[in-house]
């Protein structure tokens, strides 16, 4: 067993290295991914070891990056594209939504586009505008795309492996403020399917569902609630499209209460979809309406106000209390 403690950033780097090593058709493309190793150093050292032909510094044009990645995939390559920051993906949104997502269906299944689009996302790093957004719902809404986000180093390693092997395009959201959080990674044993949710902490009184950067916040909230005698279960969603509703349902049928937490705005967010589906599936089990904690329907605020905007421990616990009060 090859157990190793590493950061999420290192786990992603190792996983990308393994992908390049395993399949000569795998490519990495993006802005500054070469010598610099990306602005977050996720591709650090890969160009040095695999060459400029496979770890490709691109012109600064996101639509061009994704559009040419589609062409390379049509030629038989498996491009892994880096979008430098969440707020920079929108120039590529057209290529992702109208081409990448739909070409498989348009061709009646004859074309497969195994493209991974990596996007560091979310706030909490004190950045300037456009560097802290959580646009996952905008992609999850589009049929043809798969949308995932790891919350820990082991998932970062394995979910990247699975995303690269997927014959569908995968939008891979990386929780940038957790890049340096460390965890154990077993590089020899696959923990589970790419689109399976996992129970990060077991409990009996209420279920918290979260993904990416909010899993840590929810685990901390559950620990704090434990001190008050409340037993909280935390489900790490891992995949926002498709969503493992069976796992959430199983948890809610046990706890009878559900709070969904994400950084993205609550309005039309993935919490809305989860609330609707779980209400339908678990109507007679629920003791309280499904509550949601997330960002507000405002542009992401300047850095000195982001802690007001982002769901933190107290806002999660406030929702827990409101749910338990029903």
């Amino acid at each position: 067993m090859a157990m190793e403690k590493m950061s999420i950033a290192k786990a992603l780097n190792e996983s990308l290295r393994k992908a390049l090593d395993t399949d000569p058709k795998t490519l990495i493309m993006g802005e500054d991914v070469g010598k610099l190793g990306g602005v977050f150093r996720i591709t650090d050292g890969l160009q040095k070891d695999f060459g400029e032909d496979r770890v490709i510094d691109t012109p600064l044009a996101e639509s061009g990056i994704v559009g040419t990645a589609i062409g390379l995939a049509l030629r038989g390559y498996r491009p892994i594209v880096e979008i430098q920051f969440d707020g920079f993906v929108f120039p590529a949104y057209d290529q992702i939504v109208t081409q990448l997502a739909k070409m498989h269906a348009r061709s009646l299944g004859k074309i497969k586009l195994p493209v991974v689009v990596r996007i560091p996302y979310g706030g909490g790093i004190g950045a300037v505008e456009h560097h802290s957004e959580s646009p996952e719902a905008l992609f999850a809404h589009v049929a043809g795309l798969k949308v995932v986000s790891p919350s820990n180093a082991s998932d970062a390693y394995w979910m990247m492996q699975q995303a690269v092997q997927s014959d569908d395009p995968v939008i891979f959201f990386e929780p940038k403020r957790r890049y340096w959080d460390k965890g154990e990674v077993d590089t020899e044993s696959i923990p589970g399917g790419l689109h399976r949710a996992s129970v990060a902490r077991t409990g009996t009184d209420l279920t918290l569902v979260a993904y990416g950067p909010m899993v840590k916040v929810c685990l901390e909230a559950a620990a704090a609630a434990q001190e008050e005698g409340k037993s909280i279960e935390v489900v790490d969603l891992r995949s926002m499209s498709p969503i493992d509703f069976d796992a959430i349902q199983a948890s809610v049928e046990k706890t009878r209460r559900l709070v969904v937490v994400h950084e993205a705005p609550v309005f039309y967010g993935s919490g809305a979809e989860i609330a609707a589906r779980i209400t339908e599936r678990c109507f007679y089990h629920l003791e309280a309406p499904v509550l949601r904690v997330g960002g507000y329907h405002v542009p992401y605020p300047p850095a000195r106000l982001e802690d007001e905007y982002l769901p933190g421990l107290d806002r999660v616990l406030d929702a827990v209390d409101r749910s338990l009060a029903y």
Binding site: D53, T58, P59, A61, S63, G64, V66, G67, T68, A69, I70, G71, L72, A73, L74, R75, G76, Y77, P91, D94, Q95, T98, Q99, K102, M103, H104, A105, R106, S107, L108, G109, K110, I111, K112, A143, G144, K146, S166, D167, D168, H195, S241, P242, I243, D244
Partner: protein
């Protein structure tokens, strides 16, 4: 910061200089101009060009003529089928036969084509059955052919997007060490899209073996080329660092020669070329369009005199390359094609309703599976009621 912003906001939105500039737009050179590569005049006279030459056998010349005639016949049939309600929409290529057949016949089998939605003539050259092109216009699919069978990608509807796919594909060709080339079709309207500019940038930077074949048919629905550019489109290439050439898009020989040369350049590893085929959209943008609202009859009439098929016919007749019997036989072949297309369209089966759930994902999706089952159960409930 705040003070500066306020000051800036108080400034008039347009300086007087800018206003005066806007009043006197530079004249866009829209005449074909001396730079136009031409090997066959509108009168059917064969002329020489210092940079491009072509030497075709009688059979090859007849072949080009046949391709154009049959493509036009197919196109006319599709327009008629739309008028009869058999197709929801049709995008006619009328007038652009030489640009498409000339460039299409320059390609090798291993080259790869990224078309718009109007490249019916190129599809013909690639061996795509014309009836396959009609499924999407009838509404039974979004593109019914396997792109890899004829190296002819699906029609792309969003303007200009395919130029990036072509560039990426060409980057892959270069990585593979192959000597194939890629050709991306687009129009004068698409030349304004950011994706086309990005495709030019990427192809130049990576020296990708791609030919950008722009059919400047003068009209982007109702907008003339003057609304897209202030320089001749082929000159755009220079700023990106690769050559551009303007060819008479109604001269099949020149289109063949110029495209062949650009493809050879790509194969030699010398990178992209922009070919601007100067042509004219004789018909409407699509069957939903009404060009009488925005362009004059005289303009169309002036282009009728430059008809691509007529000029080659004159040349074939003058050179004795084809006789009356040949033309008569071709007419019969045209009618047979029209009949085959008509019957194929009318007999296209209504797709199974469950087909909407197919191919959303290559690896499948639990959500789609669930929705498919719900829809099937819903449909089945009617069957039970009917019992």
């Amino acid at each position: 910061m705040t003070v500066e912003s306020t000051a800036a906001a108080r400034k008039p939105r347009r300086s007087s200089k800018r206003t005066s500039a806007a009043k006197t737009p530079a004249k866009t050179p829209q005449s074909s101009g001396p730079e136009l590569v031409q090997l066959l005049t509108p009168e059917g006279e064969r002329i020489e060009h210092p940079d491009y030459s072509i030497d075709l056998t009688a059979e090859e010349l007849r072949g080009l003529y046949r391709d154009m005639v049959l493509t036009r016949r197919f196109d006319a049939e599709a327009t008629a089928l739309q008028r009869q309600g058999e197709l929801g929409l049709w995008a006619s290529l009328l007038g652009q036969e030489a640009a498409q057949i000339g460039s299409g016949r320059a390609l090798r089998d291993d080259d790869y084509v990224f078309p718009t939605y109007r490249e019916h003539g190129v599809a013909w050259c690639r061996g795509v059955d014309p009836t396959n092109l009609l499924g999407m216009f009838r509404g039974v699919n979004h593109g019914g052919w396997d792109p890899n069978t004829n190296n002819f990608h699906l029609y792309t509807i969003v303007i200009g997007s395919q130029t990036l796919h072509a560039t990426g594909y060409a980057m892959g060709v270069a990585k593979d060490g192959a000597d194939s080339a890629v050709i991306a079709y687009f129009g004068d309207g698409a030349s304004s899209q950011g994706d086309v500019a990005e495709a030019f940038t990427f192809s130049a930077v990576y020296n990708a073996p791609v030919v950008f074949f722009c059919q400047n048919n003068q009209w982007a629905i109702s907008e003339p080329t003057e609304k897209q550019t202030r320089v001749p489109l082929y000159q755009r290439a220079q700023g990106f660092g690769f050559p551009g050439v303007r060819v008479d898009g109604n001269d099949v020989l020149a289109c063949l020669a110029v495209t062949r040369s650009a493809l050879e350049r790509a194969r030699r590893g010398e990178g992209p070329t922009l070919v601007e085929a100067f042509t004219y959209r004789m018909g409407a943008h699509t069957t939903s369009d009404d060009p009488t609202k925005y362009r004059a009859d005289e303009e169309r009439a002036s282009w009728e005199a430059k008809d691509p098929i007529l000029r080659l016919r004159t040349y074939l007749e003058n050179e004795g390359v084809a006789d009356e019997a040949y033309f008569t036989a071709l007419d019969e072949e045209s009618e047979t094609l029209g009949k085959r297309v008509r019957e194929a369209v009318r007999s296209m089966p209504q797709p199974d309703r469950m087909a909407i759930f197919e191919h959303a994902y290559a690896d499948g999706s639990a959500l789609v599976d669930e929705e498919r089952a719900q829809f099937a159960a819903y449909q089945a409930s009617f069957a039970e009621e009917g019992k």
